[in-house]
């Protein structure tokens, strides 16, 4: 395995944090600038030229504002929640390949070789791998995708703790919605990635990039999986149109209602970090990571090569971040039953069918392009089905409610409403 060097590791970690934190800050600025651009406004332009120092001012305010802790909260969990939320978002960055990486060598040696030679060969390959430059904090993590998902699920804890400990009904509603939403969308998210794993045969993100470098990006073969993945991560990040947990017009601030100052800032930081992580993941898993039609191989110098790869990756990621922003300012939000319906009745069946198609294609060694056709076909079929057999608008009928207070005893239930 890779040589363990404290100093290098600390420098890399410090570097990543030093890059990500300002990026998060400027993402908030970008969000406001993009919204201003979409909405025919100017956006922040007072702090520094073009408002470029706005994130600093915002960050300073997070530190300098008083953080009142309401009397009624469960203090430990109340303070723990934002820290959990942010720490988890940060840790997920560990496995993302930022630039040139290579997958770790297979530790299994070929048959019919002397045991000593096997050991020697293993040591050689591993030693070689350890010397190679890897633009990732934790290189060669064989369960890369799983780690990201596991951490993504853990993000629910921050939200649940924050919402429950606030002893506020809006917070509670927000956190319940959020948890139900995140766990519901975790399923299509996972299933859409399984299709990728069936091809790559590895959970290692570097391995997935290598496969795409050889065969072509996964988005070409599994556009439907990419779509499902993208929609799911939007829901995981609580972004519009899935921002119900903090839907301002319904729940005031959702689970954030009682938070202020740095505690609030950490929730936001965690959320935006999550956006960056998922954008990176979309890039790596479906859009070829740092590969761009062989451009990255033109540069042979290792240092410049790493820079070029990093730039390619960052550009692609930036595109997905931009998409996040554009979507937010275009689409209104779902109602909760529609949101759950979308997850359980549309996305999960679609991802199951898609997975089945991938398995069949792999089993019978069909061309990858067959899968593209199936993907598009499934998508269109779902649309046609919805139009032909759907029940009109995706609407929950008004529920019959039992009138409150209780009806007179002995007369059964008084049912009111339509």
């Amino acid at each position: 395995m890779i040589a363990f060097d404290w100093l290098t590791l600390l420098i890399v970690i410090a570097g990543v944090i030093a890059v990500v934190m300002p990026t998060v800050g400027y993402l908030t600025l970008a969000e406001r600038k993009v919204s201003a651009w979409v909405q025919d406004r100017l956006g922040p332009n007072r702090v520094g030229p073009f408002g470029l120092l706005q994130p600093l001012a915002d960050g300073g305010k997070f530190f300098l504002k008083e953080a009142p802790i309401p009397r009624h909260v469960d203090k430990i969990f109340f303070l723990l929640a934002p820290a959990v939320s942010m720490a988890i978002a940060l840790v997920a960055l560990a496995v993302v390949p930022w630039g040139g990486t290579q997958p770790p060598p297979d530790p299994v040696a070929t048959q019919g070789v002397e045991p000593a030679a096997v050991v020697q060969q293993y040591a050689d390959t591993q030693g070689g791998y350890a010397k190679s430059f890897n633009g990732v904090i934790v290189p060669g993590l064989d369960v890369g995708v799983l780690v990201v998902f596991a951490l993504g699920s853990l993000a629910v804890y921050g939200v649940i703790l924050g919402g429950w400990s606030s002893d506020n009904k809006y917070s509670l509603l927000g956190s319940l919605r959020s948890s139900a939403q995140i766990i519901s969308y975790e399923i299509p998210l996972g299933m859409s990635v399984v299709g990728v794993l069936l091809f790559s045969g590895t959970l290692n993100l570097e391995g997935i990039i290598q496969w795409q470098k050889q065969h072509g990006w996964f988005v070409l073969f599994q556009p439907l999986a990419f779509l499902l993945f993208m929609v799911s991560v939007y829901a995981e990040c609580n972004r519009l149109p899935f921002d119900l947990p903090e839907a301002e017009q319904e729940l005031v601030g959702g689970y954030l209602t009682e938070y202020g100052s740095l505690n609030f800032g950490m929730f936001m930081l965690g959320e935006y970090t999550h956006m960056i992580t998922t954008s990176l993941l979309m890039t790596v898993v479906f859009w070829g990571g740092w590969s761009l039609f062989g451009l990255e191989d033109r540069v042979t110098d290792p240092i410049w090569g790493a820079v070029v790869k990093c730039l390619i990756l960052v550009t692609k990621t930036g595109f997905f971040l931009f998409l996040y922003l554009l979507v937010r300012w275009t689409i209104p939000r779902f109602r909760f039953d529609q949101l759950m319906g979308l997850a359980w009745k549309v996305m999960i069946p679609l991802s199951l069918l898609h997975l089945l198609a991938v398995m069949l294609v792999r089993q019978y060694s069909l061309s990858n392009w067959v899968l593209t056709a199936i993907s598009v076909g499934l998508f269109l079929a779902a649309g046609v089905y919805a139009v032909a057999f759907g029940t009109g608008p995706n609407n929950a009928p008004r529920r019959r409610v039992i009138s409150s207070p209780s009806p007179p005893v002995g007369e059964g239930l008084g049912v009111r409403g339509s």
């Binding site: 979409v38 529609q338 608008p393 409610v401």
Partner: protein, 408 residues
């Protein structure tokens, strides 16, 4: 004033222990102003919605009893502050009916144009806010860009943007300049483009439609029984529009230039579409009216001792000075008949009427308002029952409740 729930919200017997009570407002982002709803919830479903009004009560009607007919204009402005000019014009409709006054044709046209601009600005806010409440901030800001254009027009006409206090008994504060006419002419195509933008952004937006279709359905019978008016009633199939049914101001001349927009749906979508349609119709009225503004004086003759003489007349002629003096002395003012009148206009939100009881002095003895928001807000519990929390802002936005008008 705030309701104190003296008795516990739900009894603690087994079948309602899962119900809980949530305050929705008065300080809530979706209530826009200070409304309060006491929601009894089962999970996210609303079992009972109880409105609690009075948080913005400002004693407007009582103030009306102490202000003369011109002074009260400034207060009427603050009722439905989304479209203040419409309130002023409605108030003057009642007052001039009381005085038996026929205003000049030019004034009629000006008031019509301003009332329609006010209607557009109100509908823009209602449409934008109904999108905003569902998370679509962009449509809201598109709408606000156009409201800005309307403010500019009102500013050039009256010198004030938000609360112009432009209307006076027997006329207007001053005549408009040609500048205003040019601005209105320029506004028409600009607005049509923005209207199309908003329609493109929302009309076929699946998420938006799913959120408002079939939500908060008001049947035609209920609409009539609960004396609902305006776009809310027309969206439920009650085709009643004072501009057509009892034409006032310049509407008799403009009958051919507009149609009444109505729908049978009765849900939030229908209300949204009716408002969008009415904006387009209003634009037609404005386009027709602005080309046909008659010349002549804007105020009725000073001899009638009704309208305030302008500055020239006040300072250069003895009649003007005396007339001005008469109208502004606290114990003189108008000589009114001892009578009771009800005058109503079709404003953006519905029928805004004023019931004026005059005792012969310069001030009304009673100036009762018929606020459409008050009547529409009373629908709310009925519309909400059985829906989900998420539907509260959708329905609230589609009714376009203005708390200042509701509480007066």
């Amino acid at each position: 004033m705030p309701l104190d729930l003296l008795d516990p919200p739900a009894d603690t017997s087994t079948d309602s222990e899962y119900l809980y009570t949530l305050n929705f407002g008065p300080q809530h982002p979706a209530t826009h102003t200070t409304l309060r709803l006491i929601l009894t919830l089962d999970g996210e479903t609303i079992v009972k919605a109880q409105p609690d009004i009075g948080y913005l009560h400002s004693g407007f009607e009582k103030l009306g009893e102490d202000l003369d007919y011109n002074q009260y204009v400034t207060v009427v402005d603050r009722m439905n502050y989304i479209s203040p000019l419409a309130n002023e014009i409605a108030w003057m409709t009642a007052v001039e009916k009381l005085l038996g006054l026929e205003i000049t044709p030019r004034c009629k046209y000006l008031r019509t144009i301003l009332a329609e601009l006010a209607r557009i600005s109100d509908h823009l806010l209602a449409v934008g806010a109904s999108a905003l409440d569902l998370g679509g901030l962009t449509a809201f800001l598109y709408a606000f860009n156009e409201r800005e254009g309307i403010y500019d027009i009102i500013e050039s006409a009256s010198g004030q943007r938000f609360h112009p206090s432009y209307v006076r008994v027997g006329g207007m504060m001053n005549d408009i300049t040609d500048d205003v006419v040019d601005k209105v002419r320029a506004f028409v195509p600009k607005f049509q483009k923005a209207h199309a933008d908003i329609a493109r952004l929302l009309n076929r937006n699946k998420i938006f439609l799913d959120r408002i279709q079939g939500v908060g359905v008001l049947s035609r019978e209920e609409a009539i029984n609960r004396s609902v008016t305006g776009p809310v009633a027309r969206a439920s199939g009650v085709v009643r529009d004072l501009r057509k049914d009892e034409p006032y101001l310049a509407y008799p001349d403009l009958q051919d230039s507009f149609k009444v927009v109505a729908s049978k749906g009765g849900d939030c979508l229908a209300r949204y579409l009716v408002r969008m349609g009415e904006m387009a119709e209003s634009m037609k009225i404005i386009a027709a009216a602005v080309e046909n503004i008659p010349s002549g004086p804007v105020n009725v003759d000073v001899e009638g001792k009704i309208s305030i003489p302008d500055k020239t007349a006040t300072y250069r002629s003895i009649e003007g000075l005396i007339q001005h003096f008469e109208l502004f002395m606290w114990n003189r003012r108008w000589e009114t008949p001892v009578n009771e009148v009800y005058g109503a206009n079709e404003t953006a939100n519905g029928e805004l009427g004023f019931y004026v009881v005059a005792d012969g002095s310069g001030k009304p003895w009673r100036a009762r308002t018929r606020p459409p928001s008050f009547i529409h807000f009373s629908l709310f519990p009925m519309l909400m029952e059985g829906h989900q929390i998420s539907d509260v802002p959708a329905v609230l936005g589609s009714l376009n409740i203005i708390a200042a008008e509701l509480d007066r």
